[in-house]
């Protein structure tokens, strides 16, 4: 396989005496959905914030496209093409879909807002993602459902030639139909060749859309596996709750020096 789009080697991070990330290895492949799961406090959010440049790490390295990179802050993460869609979306309800998608990065023509170009591109991006339920891109966000808001937030993230999109619990507050809609958008992102990271507590969603799963347990990566037809919900739950599972054999990931070693195919 080609080198991963984003690869994180051995990063550690402490808040005071608490070691939140302990020698974490994580990778995101282009065209794949990588699920990042783990119990509350396992370190998922800290890992994401480190990738997004919000937290500086104590040790370890980032590699993007095979090149060692330095993520100094949110701006350098964004410059690499890493976008995070946080759980609270951060949309302006008083603005419409186009205005939200281009917020802070509005296109100008002769110094004035280029409304028609922004509208056409916003519509094209939503169409590319297979968003079917937004009747008009000129609708105010306050009139959209939770699922529609989620897709707008995701579309905003991919509008900018992003390469890696990290989705923080995109389906947490959604009903069945809306969840299916958002998961379809997630699949499409991967089909477009982006590296997608899906953080979720819902094992059904994870199994439905992910190509690979990384499980965090107490600040470590407890397991890193490919999703196959045999991957069971129970295995994932055990990995989340105890950091190990009879259905998953791997070296202690803390002892493995090179992370690909702790990848095991469950069916194999």
């Amino acid at each position: 396989m080609a080198s991963p789009l984003l690869e994180i080697r051995g990063i550690s991070k402490s808040f005071g005496a608490v070691r939140v990330l302990d020698n974490v290895n994580f990778r995101v492949n282009a065209g794949e959905v990588t699920a990042l799961i783990g119990d509350n406090g396992a370190g998922k959010s800290t890992l994401v914030k480190s990738i997004a440049g919000i937290h500086a790490v104590d040790s370890g390295s980032f590699h993007f496209d095979g090149q060692a990179v330095d993520i100094k802050g949110p701006r350098s993460a964004a410059a690499l093409g890493i976008e995070v869609v946080y759980q609270d979306l951060a949309l302006c309800e008083n603005l419409d879909v186009v205005q939200n998608m281009y917020l802070g990065r509005e296109l100008l023509a002769a110094g004035l807002l280029d409304k028609s170009t922004m509208e056409a591109r916003a519509r094209a991006t939503l169409a590319r993602l297979g968003v079917r339920t937004v009747k008009s891109v000129r609708q105010l966000v306050s009139s959209l459902s939770g699922g529609q808001r989620q897709t707008v937030a995701i579309a905003r993230a991919v509008l900018w030639e992003s390469r890696v999109v990290i989705l923080d619990e995109p389906t947490a507050a959604l009903g069945v139909a809306q969840t299916a809609q958002v998961l379809e958008v997630v699949r499409r992102l991967a089909a477009e060749g982006l590296g997608v990271v899906l953080i979720s507590h819902n094992m059904n969603d994870v199994l439905a859309v992910s190509d690979r799963v990384s499980v965090m347990y107490l600040g470590r990566i407890a397991a890193d596996l490919k999703v196959t037809a045999d991957t069971s919900r129970e295995t994932l739950v055990e990995l989340i709750t105890s950091g190990e599972s009879a259905g998953y054999q791997a070296d202690d990931p803390n002892r493995s020096e090179r992370w690909p070693n702790n990848e095991r195919n469950l069916s194999g």
């Binding site: 946080y86 979306l89 951060a90 949309l91 302006c92 309800e93 008083n94 603005l95 205005q99 917020l103 802070g104 990065r105 509005e106 100008l108 110094g111 004035l112 807002l113 409304k115 028609s116 509208e119 519509r123 939503l126 169409a127 590319r128 297979g130 968003v131 079917r132 339920t133 937004v134 009747k135 008009s136 891109v137 000129r138 609708q139 306050s142 009139s143 299916a180 998961l183 379809e184 699949r187 499409r188 991967a190 089909a191 439905a208 859309v209 190509d211 999703v227 196959t228 037809a229």
Partner: protein, 429 residues
């Protein structure tokens, strides 16, 4: 492997998904959308227009010959002009979710600077320049205290209310009045344009409105039906033509020796300010960011918008516009005193913006709201004295509608009512 796979054939059917964007809508559909918006709490200008209709009917019924005269109409727009301009000033702070309680006295200080410099023999240009700079500086100071120091705008501007009033008192001395002798400043509110120029400006205004309405229709690709555009332009043209015809007739009282003809100067002046500000809000990045900061500051911050900078700019523009409003205030009475911009000025300005549909909660509002709301509030002191003393049928007591008591109650109630509509419409949406 995946239950949900990327549907490759999706590209063709998604083209039809944004149904409302591609489809040409009829007048009826736009109308029913409007009703749906109103049900959803987006009342816009509706309450203000209703209030104008009710007040005009009420005062017109109470005293048709005086209230419904063209002379009174020109008085009304002249009385409304300063409220409207200061309402637009305050609107900039309301848009970003803040408030400026001292905008009235910013207007007063700017007016005092202008008046005292003219008395001191300065030229008009330099006096206006200094007054403008002072107004800008006051706004910048307020913005700095709110956005950079981080004091709630309510407290900053409450303190400024006293500070600016103190500055005004120092300028005009206790109980003093500074007269304005400059003809241009005096004529801003009160003079009328020549008959010919009234027509030229009226037609130019209609042409400008038509140009921008058609441009917006083109950009919207059928979402705005042509019939609606035609309707709007016809309505605006109708108001402009009828207004110009009425204003161009002599409206002086029968016994008066001098004729009064032509459109009041304040009408094109105020409309020009409304037009410029609306254009900036709708078409610049800065305008867009004002709405974003007012709608969701956290979202704006994450989108890379400098929230403090936007707020600082909003207060600075508020100061500048309030200063311009001060010139209108001074011109209306041809003098500046310790009460210029005081008493109810600020309440009326905030009231005008809110009655017109600008939200006190930030992120929602347009300049036209201040204009229509300002007319509503100008109608109250204009019409109430014409009602005079009436005996209330139910209680049998006599009430003097020309008294300040009734006027204050009416002002306060109007603001309270508008704020209630604003708060309740937030709950429904």
């Amino acid at each position: 492997m995946n239950e949900i796979s990327a549907d490759e054939s999706g590209a063709t059917d998604v083209a039809t998904d944004f149904a409302l964007d591609s489809q040409t809508r009829s007048l009826g559909q736009v109308f029913s959308d409007g009703i749906a918006n109103i049900r959803g709490g987006e009342l816009g200008l509706l309450p203000a227009l209703l209030a104008i209709a009710v007040l005009v009917a009420l005062f017109g019924w109470a005293n048709p010959s005086t209230f419904l005269s063209v002379l009174n109409l020109s008085n009304l727009v002249e009385q409304a002009s300063a409220i409207i301009v200061i309402a637009m000033a305050v609107s900039f702070t309301l848009l970003v979710g803040e408030i400026d309680l001292a905008a009235g006295f910013t207007a007063g200080v700017a007016a005092a600077v202008l008046a005292t410099r003219l008395v001191a023999g300065w030229g008009l240009v330099t006096a206006v320049l200094l007054a403008t700079l002072v107004a800008l500086a006051l706004g910048l100071f307020t913005g700095y205290m709110v956005a950079k120091v981080g004091i709630p705008s309510f407290v900053v501007t409450l303190a400024n209310f006293l500070i600016f009033q103190g500055i005004l008192l120092l300028f005009v001395k206790d109980g003093g009045t500074v007269r304005i002798e400059n003809d241009l400043v005096k004529g801003m509110v009160g003079d009328s344009l020549p008959v010919g120029l009234s027509w030229v400006l009226a037609l130019f205004g209609v042409a400008l409105y038509a140009f921008f309405t058609v441009r917006r229709q083109r950009a919207a690709h059928g979402a705005i039906p042509l019939s609606l555009v035609a309707l709007r332009i016809t309505a605006v043209a109708g108001v402009a033509v009828v207004g110009t015809v009425l204003f161009n007739r002599n409206r002086a009282l029968p016994k008066a020796e001098i004729e009064i003809r032509g459109m009041p100067v304040v009408i094109p002046l105020v409309l020009l300010i409304v037009f410029i500000l609306t254009f900036v809000l709708d078409n610049t990045r800065w305008g867009r960011h004002l709405y974003a900061v007012g709608g969701n500051p956290e979202a704006a911050r994450r989108a890379g918008i400098n929230v403090a900078g936007i707020k600082l700019a909003a207060f600075t523009v508020c100061g500048l516009l309030a200063g311009i409003g001060g010139a209108f205030l001074a011109s209306n009475v041809n003098s500046v005193s310790a009460t210029t911009g005081g008493s109810q000025t600020l309440l009326l300005a905030v009231g005008a913006a809110v009655i017109g549909g600008t939200s006190l909660f930030g992120g929602k509002g347009r300049m036209i709201n201040g204009l229509v709301g300002g007319l509503v509030l100008a109608l109250i002191p204009n019409g109430l004295p014409l009602v005079g003393k009436r005996i209330l049928p139910l209680f049998g007591t006599e009430i003097d509608f020309s008294s300040s008591g009734v006027k204050f109650i009416a002002f306060g109630s109007a603001l309270m009512l508008a704020a209630s509509v604003d708060a309740l419409s937030r709950k429904t949406s």
